[in-house]
Symmetry: C2
Subunit: 481 residues, 2 copies
Amino acid sequence: MADKKVKFIASKSENLTAWYTDVCTKAELMSYAKAKGFIVYRPDGYALWEGIQHYFDERIKALGVRNVYLPTLIPMSLFQKEKDMINGFAPEVAVVTQGGGKQLNEPLVVRPTSEILFSDYFKEIVHSYNDLPIKVNQWCSVVRWEKTTRPFLRGAEFLWQEGHCLFETENEANEFALTILREYNNVGRNLLAIPFVMGEKPSSERFAGAEHTYTIEGLMPDGQALQSGTSHFLGEGFMKAYDVKFLNKENKITYPQYCSWGISTRLLGALIMVHGDDEGLVLPPRIAPTQAVIIPIRADHSPEVVKASKELEEELKKAGVRVLLDLSNKTPGWKFSQYEMKGVPLRLELGPKDLEQKQVTLSKRYNGEKITLPLDQVAGKVPALLEEIQEAMYQKALTFLNSHIVECHDYEEAKKVITSGMGFAKMMVKSTNEAAIEAKFKQELNATPRVMPFDQRPFQSKDTVTGEEGADKVVYFARAY
Amino acid sequence: MADKKVKFIASKSENLTAWYTDVCTKAELMSYAKAKGFIVYRPDGYALWEGIQHYFDERIKALGVRNVYLPTLIPMSLFQKEKDMINGFAPEVAVVTQGGGKQLNEPLVVRPTSEILFSDYFKEIVHSYNDLPIKVNQWCSVVRWEKTTRPFLRGAEFLWQEGHCLFETENEANEFALTILREYNNVGRNLLAIPFVMGEKPSSERFAGAEHTYTIEGLMPDGQALQSGTSHFLGEGFMKAYDVKFLNKENKITYPQYCSWGISTRLLGALIMVHGDDEGLVLPPRIAPTQAVIIPIRADHSPEVVKASKELEEELKKAGVRVLLDLSNKTPGWKFSQYEMKGVPLRLELGPKDLEQKQVTLSKRYNGEKITLPLDQVAGKVPALLEEIQEAMYQKALTFLNSHIVECHDYEEAKKVITSGMGFAKMMVKSTNEAAIEAKFKQELNATPRVMPFDQRPFQSKDTVTGEEGADKVVYFARAY
C-alpha cells in the first residue's frame, strides 16, 4: 500500500496531451467532478491559484483597485440588452429556469463574465465626474458551456479575477487597460517564470464589445499558443446599452470610458506545460507551496538524522523558506518520486553519512543538478539558491519562446512553422489582405492570428502571404488552445 | 452637488429595520442588484468580508486546513442521493436546465451547500487510514431561494466559507467541529467585537443530516437572535449515502466521520446591528478598512495645516495604522458626517489653531468622546487607543448580551421576554416536554429554541413551562432573524 502512490506518467515529448492529464491528476492538482467539464481544484492545485491571487491582489490594490462581489446570476432581459454580449456569449451560457421549486418568470443566466452586471451597478453609482475613476475587481468563478474541456485550460467553470474600471476619458481607460496588461506580464515574469508575448488582438479576435483587446500570449511546448490573460478597452458601448452617464467638468452629460480585464486558472495550465517534465510537475520557487523538502535517509535507524533534519527544517523556516520535512515511513525512493511529481523545486537529502561529513545534498528539480553544501551553510544559502532557480527557469522558458517565434517570408514557411509545431509564425500583413489571410489560415491550417506584438518593427515590406508591397503590421499566427 | 452625500437615516431605536437598510446603503456597503434577493457587495462592504477572510483563513491554515474549490453546479441525481439534504434544501434550490443553447439531459442544482460534492470528491481520494484526516475548506458563494431577503442577513446568494473534514473516529470529528466553533467565537471576540453564546442546537434546529449542530448565537438590539456560524458533526450519514469508505488500521472497511462548518457574510449584518448608531455604521478598529481619518480644518487657507496633516498621515502609516487623509474640497462638516456614516473608529482634526498649540483633537466614533493629544505624541498613542476602543466596544456589547439573557421561571415570564424584545428567554426544559414546548413557542410566540449553551448549569429543577420537576437542560428561546 505504501508504494501505491508511485505513479508513472506519459512522456511529455511523445504525447503532450496524455502527459498533461497525467500531471494534473497524479500531482494531485485536480480531480474530475461528476458534472461534465467541471473539476475539483485540489489543495495542491488551489494553492497555486492562491499564490497568484496573493501576488496580483496586492499589485492591483497598489493601483487603487478595490474588490467587490456581484451576483452569480444575471436576469435574461438584462443580459440581452447588449448585442455584442449576446452574440459573443449566448451560445455558451448556462441558464437557471427554476428556483424555490417553481418555474421562474424570468430565466437567469449564470455569469460567463460580468460586464453587464457591472454596467448595471455603475448606473446606480456614477453621476458626476467626482465619482470617477472607479476601479473595482472581483475574484469569482464563471461558467461557460464549452464543448471540449481540459483541466485548467478550458472548463465549464473556471476561477478568475475580473477587473472593471470607468474613467472620464478614452485615454485614461485605454492606458489603464495597458497598465494591467503589464501587470499580467509581471505575473509571468515575477511569479510563474513564464515569458509572454504582449500585444493587441486583431479585430477578429477581440472580446465581444471591445474596441481594443490586449493580450499576453504564451507558447506551449507543442508550438501552440495559449491566450493567458486579456485586458480590454471597451469604450462606451456598454455604457450606452445600460445607460450609464455622468456630468463632466464642463457640465455636459457624457458616457464614461470602460475597461475590463481578467486572468484565470488557465495560468495553471501554462505553468504545468511550460515547466513540467517526464517526472511530473516542476514549480518555480516563488509560486511553489513547498519550496524545499527535506528527506532524511535511514531516519528509522538514526535519531541523530531525525534531530538534525528537524533543526534544518527550523532554520529554513526562519530563513523564510516554505519547507517540508517528510518523516513518514515511506522509502526515500518513494519520497523522491513523490516530490518530483509534485514539482518541489529543491530536495535536501540528509543521511548518517552526510551527518558525519556535516553536509547536505541538494537536488534542483528543474534540471536535476545536485550540489553539496556544508550543513551549517544550508539555511543561509537556500533563499538565494531558490531565486537563482526562479531566474534560470524563466530564462530557459524565454529562450524557448524566442527560438519559436519564426519570421516567415512566404506562405509555405508559415505553413511549415504552424503544421510542424515550430511555434509562432511571425508574419508581415497588409491590412487590406487581413481578412482573406485570416480565413485562409483558419481553413487550411486551423491557425489564427494570436497577437500583434507591441514590438511592431517590420522585418520586410512585403506581405508574407501575398508578396504584395505595403505590409503594415506584424502579426503572430499559431494554432491555439 | 458637493453636499449631496450628507444623508440622514432612520433612528435605530425607533425603527431598526429602516435604520438597518439605511446604513447598508448609505454607508455604501451594498446596493441592490436587478435579480430579486441578490445584492452587490460594494468596496466598503466587501472589505469587511476580506477582513474576516484574512483573519479566519490564517487561523484554519494553522489548524492544518487547506483550501480547495469544488463546482458551483451539482447534478440532480447526485443531489438526490442523500434524503436529509433533499428534505432540507430542495425547496430552496435554483436549478440550471439549459446549457450551451440546449435543454440539459440532467438538470444541475446551483450549490446551496456542498456536502454532496465533497462527499463525492472524498470517495475518489479516501481509501486508507493513511488518507485521513482530510481537512479542506472553500471560500465561495452559495445560492438559496429565500422568500424574504435582507442585505447580508438573508439573501438569494451569499458569500461564505465551508469547511469539510473527515476523520477516522467520531471523537476526532466531533472535537474538530468544536475546535472550529471556538474559532468562530474568536472571530467575534478578536475581530468583530461581538460576543456570542456558544452551544448546541436542539435536534429540531439541526442542519439537514447532522448528528450535532453547534452554533454561535448573537443577540441583536431588538432582542432577536442571529445564528452567526454553525459547525456540524455529521457522523457517517453522508459517507454511507455516497459510499465513502476506508480501510482502517485493523484492516476493516469503515466509514469516515465527517464534520462541516461555515460562517458567512451574515456576520456583516451582525456587525452593523450590534455596533451601529443613529449616525450610521460604527466599526471596531481591527476590522475597519480605515481606522483613522485625518480631517484638516481650513486647509485651503493654510499650507502649514496641509503639510502637518501629510506628516501625521505618514507617521500613522509607519505606526501600522490604516489611515486616510481627506484633502478634498468638501466642508469639514460634510466630512464629519461622511466618516461617521462609514463608521471610521477615530477622527483626527487638525486646524491652524491646533497647529499653533501643537495639538490634535481626536474623536472616538463609538462613544463620541473627544480627547486632545500633543501632535508629536499622536502616532505613538493611536495604536493603543485603537486597541482600547476595540476592547471597550466588545465589553459594551458583552454587557448588552449578558443583560438580555433572562432566567425565566414560568411561561409568562418567557412570553414577556420574547414579546417585549428583552432577548433570550433562558429556560429549564425537561426533555420529555421538549417537542411540545417548542411547538407552543413556535405557534404562540413565533419563537424557537436557539441554543443549548455549553454552560448547562441549571438555575432551577422545575421545567420553566410545565413546572414539572426533572428539567434536565438549559435552552435559550428567542425570535430569530
